[in-house]
Symmetry: C2
């Protein structure tokens, strides 16, 4: 297995082709490294600029002094082989080739790429790319890439064969407050292949979930083995581009990769314990769920809902995805009977018939999650229901009726109460080692998807936007949990 630790944890970074031309790669990368909180040394290298963003630029790699742990190349394809030779001469071992103009660009490019591959193998260089948008380690503040995102730290590491797909996933993660650990765009995979990154993330202590966007795998067997090794310890979530004839054609013109036949590939992946997803957004939410919650140990689901319709929709979704909704055991029913209004549904889903009272929800959830009859609980409609209640107070105020409390204070108080409620969800997940899936009544546009309790806890509560999203995550987490058990691992 290749040692990629200095790629992701370099003490120093050099950028060749560094410039201040804002929209060029040579500026985008170095400004991102300098602005992103990286604590190590940063060396701009440029033949034409004396300084770059206030740093003196070296004329060549030899001028830097001690070899940089990581070199990022942004100069044209034709310059790359010369630079790689300099790397060997100066002791640089980890290189990211951002430059394009290789196998994606015709016959000459393919020849260039073979040269890079052979040289890297012969000299033991770790080469990322070419034609990649870069590499990142959010915990280290290392942003050696195109995307100027600033993410929360989390356990999700991403490998993408497409820069723009990687870019979008990271922007979405930022928008939704989903924490990440690392990113690498594997580009054309001249030397380091997708299975190398998978193996590295497998062994990386800061990575708890691995997500991958793949268009093609050169060595199916080797990738499959890496996947099988990894999924015994960590969930792997995979989105395959180039699933169809047309998509494959688009993928070939784009990365030069040969996309495999999807049915065979998917079946093999599922067999290796990989969670296959259909879209980028599903990939990210599922990864956040893996990173934030315990796995369901079975498929028996309890549902608590503010309104009947959503209970129906959720029951349908569960049934369609192989989850069951067992009836309420007598002891749970008795416990709920004591606290719920007489007209409650007395079945699963537990329908609270429009009572947006967090206490009722908390008690109902605990009654169900503590019962041996359920492996997970879905919670519909209490999150953000106070926002709709606020509208009622606002309307009456406008109609001239004084409300005892300042509305801003009231909203803040209700928001605090909701945060306490979500903290409690995290506590319950830890207490019973079972997952709980709260779905917002109406997801707020500016609301984090991952609710991190004020004092860090073992788990975080995730706010799902729709019942479909929650059930889909639950079903895939259950599937992975079942896979682990079959492998003799504890979920």
């Amino acid at each position: 297995m290749k040692d990629l630790s200095k790629l992701f944890y370099p003490g120093s970074v050099a950028v060749i082709g560094a410039s201040e031309n804002v929209l060029k790669w040579g500026s985008i990368i170095i400004s991102n490294v300098l602005d992103g909180g990286f604590k190590g040394e940063v060396h701009p290298v440029s033949t034409s600029n004396e300084t770059v963003y206030g740093r003196r630029a070296s004329k060549s790699l030899r001028d830097i002094g001690a070899p940089a742990d990581l070199l990022i190349i942004t100069t044209p394809a034709a310059t790359v082989m010369g630079i790689l030779r300099d790397c060997v001469a100066t002791g640089i071992r980890n290189v990211v080739i951002v430059s394009s103009g290789f196998s994606e660009a015709g016959e000459e490019g393919r020849r260039h790429e073979r040269e890079v591959r052979e040289f890297a193998l012969a000299n033991g260089l770790n080469v990322v790319g070419p034609n990649t948008m870069g590499i990142a380690n959010f915990k280290e503040g290392l942003h050696g890439m195109f995307s100027h995102v600033r993410l929360k730290k989390g356990g999700i590491s991403l490998m993408a064969q497409s820069g723009n797909v990687g870019n979008q996933i990271m922007y979405w993660a930022e928008q939704q407050s989903i924490g990440m650990s690392k990113f690498v765009g594997s580009g054309n995979e001249a030397a380091l292949m997708c299975e190398d990154y998978l193996d590295y993330f497998h062994g990386d202590a800061d990575t708890s979930v691995i997500i991958m966007y793949l268009e093609g795998v050169d060595n199916g067997r080797s990738f499959m083995e890496a996947a099988r090794r990894t999924t015994r310890d960590k969930p792997v979530v995979l989105l395959k581009g180039g699933r169809t004839r047309v998509g494959t054609k688009a993928a070939m013109s784009h990365t030069g990769a040969l996309a495999g036949r999807i049915q065979i590939f998917s079946a093999a992946m599922e067999q290796a314990g990989v969670s296959m997803v259909d879209s980028q957004s599903e990939m990210l939410t599922l990864a956040a769920a893996f990173d934030s919650m315990p796995l369901p140990k079975g498929n028996r689901i309890g549902v608590v809902t503010l309104g009947g319709g959503w209970g129906v929709i959720t029951a349908d979704e569960c049934e369609e995805r192989g989850l069951t909704l067992p009836p309420l055991p007598e002891d749970v029913k008795a416990r709920l009977d004591k606290m719920l209004p007489s007209f409650w549904s007395k079945g699963n889903p537990v329908d609270l018939v429009g009572q947006p009272d967090p206490n009722l929800f908390r008690e109902s959830v605990e009654a169900m999650i503590s019962s041996d009859a359920y492996d997970a609980v879905i919670l519909l409609g209490i999150i953000n229901s106070f926002k709709t209640a606020m509208r009622l107070y606002e309307a009456t105020m406008r109609l001239g009726k004084p409300v005892e409390m300042n509305l801003e204070d009231m909203e803040r108080t209700l928001d605090d109460l909701q945060n306490v409620f979500l903290d409690n969800i995290a506590d319950l997940m830890e207490k019973y080692e079972k997952p709980i899936y709260p779905v917002a009544l109406v997801a707020q546009a500016d609301q984090p998807v991952v609710h991190a309790p004020k004092s860090p806890k073992k788990y975080n509560a995730i706010i799902f936007r729709t019942p479909e999203e929650a059930v889909s995550c639950l079903a895939k987490q259950y599937r992975y949990s079942r896979y682990l058990r079959k492998q003799g691992r504890k979920p």
Copy 2:
């Protein structure tokens, strides 16, 4: 066919059970009517309150004077029959029964509901509900319902058998700036049935798309006939709750409706030209697309993308949903060759390889949409790409490099440019009578989904959040267009 015009366009509204008890139905409804911009007369009716929100309350319906066009009842089930008799005595013909405690609440409730049904039929009353969250007409500012949403005016009318599903859809519409025309919660459908509302929306000049959430249909044949009549003129989008055994059980305990076997129901609906969807969010976006764009007349799709990966994902999605990506005709290729950088993909998807230049996108889109080879164009990644460019300038500023322009001005300028670009999309759709589907690079949380051009145009541009969402809409709009053609209608 029943005349429901005064239900949706009343000149005056009375609310029985009106109160100032903020969280009670009697307050929620009347405060919503008073606060929501309704221009007609509003009459609170209450035996216990002298005034309600500054309006003198009548003791009974007889005290109002002229009969209200619409009466909303919020008092307990036991009072309803008496009130209905008063309606007949005082000439009120349109009634919304918000009160619960009917067929959803056991044997006695079912008896009450039968009484309501028979009385309504015998006396020609239009009765909505019982157990409904109300009725709305956004153009008229009429908010006779629970949800205190304030929506833009649009062509979408919604009928929901579940109040909480209706509530969520309207809040989402508000959040996404999707305009709506009308809402009705049909509740237990004691008298007015889902097909009555469908027929009414069919004939309503302010409705251009009808969306429905149904759990059960009492009279399948009659609903089917109403659907078939309607879809010849207007798209109908339907989400069925209670698709599975478990969901059906949940639906029965909740509305008392008998959910039909879903396979038979869905097949019959598709045959009647109804667009079936799997989730609330899909329902709303598809409805917005129907309301905002021309229908695709065929399934031949052109794709323009900022990056390869998204092109692949989109090509896959198209192929999986029965859409095709024909190669570029020579004339289109020649036209694109003139303006694109030499390394462009020269195929469909047209890959602009990271050039976020709105001019290139506009020209590429027009080259494709004007060609007889394509029925629709999907546009990936240009929308909001300026937001990622802004990050580059912000970083260089923080690194001490002065940027010639004030960044706020720059962002405003780029945002204006984007609005011009979206206006142009609306123009192109009108010019060629073909739909264009822009997908945002990263959807902004606070960004309207429907972009209404400054000066109203025939069509609005919709900003899709993901390629899946765009392709799914496109495929369903194409399906409906094909249905219309088979019916001898012009799409």
